[in-house]
Amino acid sequence: MGAVLKSFAHNRKALTGLVIVAIIVALAIAAPWLTEYDPTRRVGRPHQPPSWDHWLGTTRIGQDVFARLLYGARTSLAVGFGAGLLITVVGTIFGILAGYKGGRTDEVISFFTNMVLVVPNLPLLLVLAAFIGQASPWVIALILGATSWAWGARVTRAETLSVKQKDFVKSAEMLGEPSWRIMLFEIFPNVISIVGINFVGSVIFAVITEATLEFLGLGDPKTVSWGMMLFNAQNASALQVGAWWDILSPCFALIALGAGLSLLNFAVDEVANPRLRTGNTLSRWSLLMRRGEGRL
């Protein structure tokens, strides 16, 4: 584990991704100190361009964009990581159970998983959100958690199946270890990279999907989040009237978070699968080749 973390730390992609996400998280936490404005109140004239008073200008109804961005970050991050966690936990538990236990358990769980997998995700979310009416971020997080775990479960099950074949699992069985111990101590530590990738991927998915749902008008209008900012800006025809700050701020925020998380994902992948590694391990080789210190 220590070696894994170390190689993670040396990976440029990982560090960049981590820094980006850390900055966003820090900004979100420090929101009350970074801005004196209440994000929901009208604090200025409508659609003011960025100025010293309002660093990112104001919205159509006079709210401070920068304040909304910072407090909105809290919501987007909370939903993202919350739903991501839920998706990952459910998917991992089902995946390992189905993969290790096999037989009836596997049949039941896999059937269930395939059903959830086959149902088209976004339309289902749209229908549920519309049904519930103005869905608060927590409801959205819950819906995401309940409908998006299937892919992770499939992948984890496949990984579990291959770990199950290994002799050390057989050894543990021969010692007479109960199933739960084997799943927790023998299988789980060996599928952890899949779980990690699943988690980061789920967070990205949750953040974007939440923003999408709100942008489409299915969110609770009282919410302060990047998705709602997009929705409001779109409704106010911000781009057409030239209020680019209104719509581009949440856009770039989402892009930044998505990019940071994706870099982290690549890094988890590379650390887990050394064959994918490129970059600094080969740069020395290329240097030596160019200098003529060897051939292939």
């Binding site: 584990m1 290994k166 002799d167 050390f168 057989k170 050894s171 543990a172 021969m174 010692l175 007479g176 270890e177 101590f185 023998e186 530590p189 060996n190 952890i192």
Partner: protein, 301 residues
């Protein structure tokens, strides 16, 4: 002085598949494991030796015949007896890389079976016992306890596998090709260790291999298997110096012998003769002939 057998198989048979296409994996298997002695089970892949190992480990149930543990039929044993059997009979696998969990340290790997095998040990006594076990398999506890399997060599990993079986309090060790994936210069150390344990702790060893030379090195008795049958068996020296069954002779002649180069006509194996021997040996040969004291072979009726 040969003690009473701790495990005995009597006319055990096992097939796989259903009526039309049943594969006879093991037929009429009879042998015994005694404390302090090693039985070598020798055969090529597909001979049924792995099936026998699994029967001894109770991964498979025999279709017919019986398995006795300390004289009592396993089928007639209650749950407590079966638990005791499970503790007493342990296995060492062929692949030193795959048989240890890469996520665990050596300490954890030994601690767990110790907790199961000697539950009364507590606190400091546990740490001491772990250190003792590691020393017994010729590893330095200080150097290895905190390491993970990938930081150790193949030979060290196999030694830890052996230590693990001792931690459980194994009385019978089934070693399935324990050295075939190790480097040549390391194999002997592991085999010597198995020999020491047999001698010092009275462990009974079932040594499964395709390598006749190492079988001779570690075992007192040998069983030669082909196509699910034990075709020749008995004292390892008698069987290997005076082989009776055509298949045993074939096996012996195929073992690399630096004394005879390929261009020597004595070394030549005629492919047709080989095929004929194989075909013959595939038939069920139910007639058993006693060649000498503790030396038996099957013959076509």
């Amino acid at each position: 002085m040969i003690q009473e057998p701790i495990i005995a198989l009597e006319q055990v048979s096992k097939s796989f598949g259903h009526s039309g296409k049943a594969v006879r994996a093991a037929h009429d298997i009879t042998f015994a494991l005694h404390p302090g002695r090693t039985v070598a089970l020798v055969g090529e892949s597909g001979s049924g030796k792995t099936t026998c190992a699994r029967l001894v480990m109770r991964e498979y149930r025999p279709d017919s015949g019986r398995i006795l543990f300390r004289g009592k039929d396993l089928n007639a044993t209650g749950a407590v007896g079966l638990k005791e059997y499970r503790r007493a009979v342990q296995m060492i696998f062929q692949d030193p890389f795959a048989s240890l969990n890469p996520a665990h340290t050596v300490d954890f790997i030994i601690r767990r079976p110790l907790a199961l095998g000697q539950p009364d040990l507590k606190g400091g006594a546990v740490d001491e016992t772990i250190a003792d076990l590691l020393r017994r398999v010729e590893l330095d506890p200080g150097a290895v306890t905190r390491k993970h399997p990938h930081e150790l060599s193949g030979g060290q990993r196999q030694r830890i596998n052996i230590a693990r079986t001792l931690a459980m309090g194994a009385q019978v060790i089934v070693a399935d090709e324990p050295t075939s994936m190790l480097d040549v210069s390391v194999r002997l150390g592991v085999l010597n260790l198995l020999n020491d344990m047999k001698r010092d702790l009275g462990v009974a060893l079932l040594y499964i291999t395709h390598d006749l030379a190492t079988a001779r090195y570690v075992a007192e008795d040998i069983l030669v298997m082909y196509a699910g049958q034990i075709v020749e068996w008995g004292d390892v020296h008698r069987v290997l110096t005076n082989p009776q069954h055509p298949y045993t002779r074939l096996l012996l002649s195929a073992v690399p012998n630096p004394e005879i180069r390929f261009d020597n006509p004595d070394a030549r194996l005629d492919p047709h003769a080989v095929e004929a021997i194989r075909r013959e040996a595939r038939h069920l040969q139910d007639r058993i002939v006693e060649v000498g004291p503790n030396h038996f072979t099957r013959r076509a009726a």
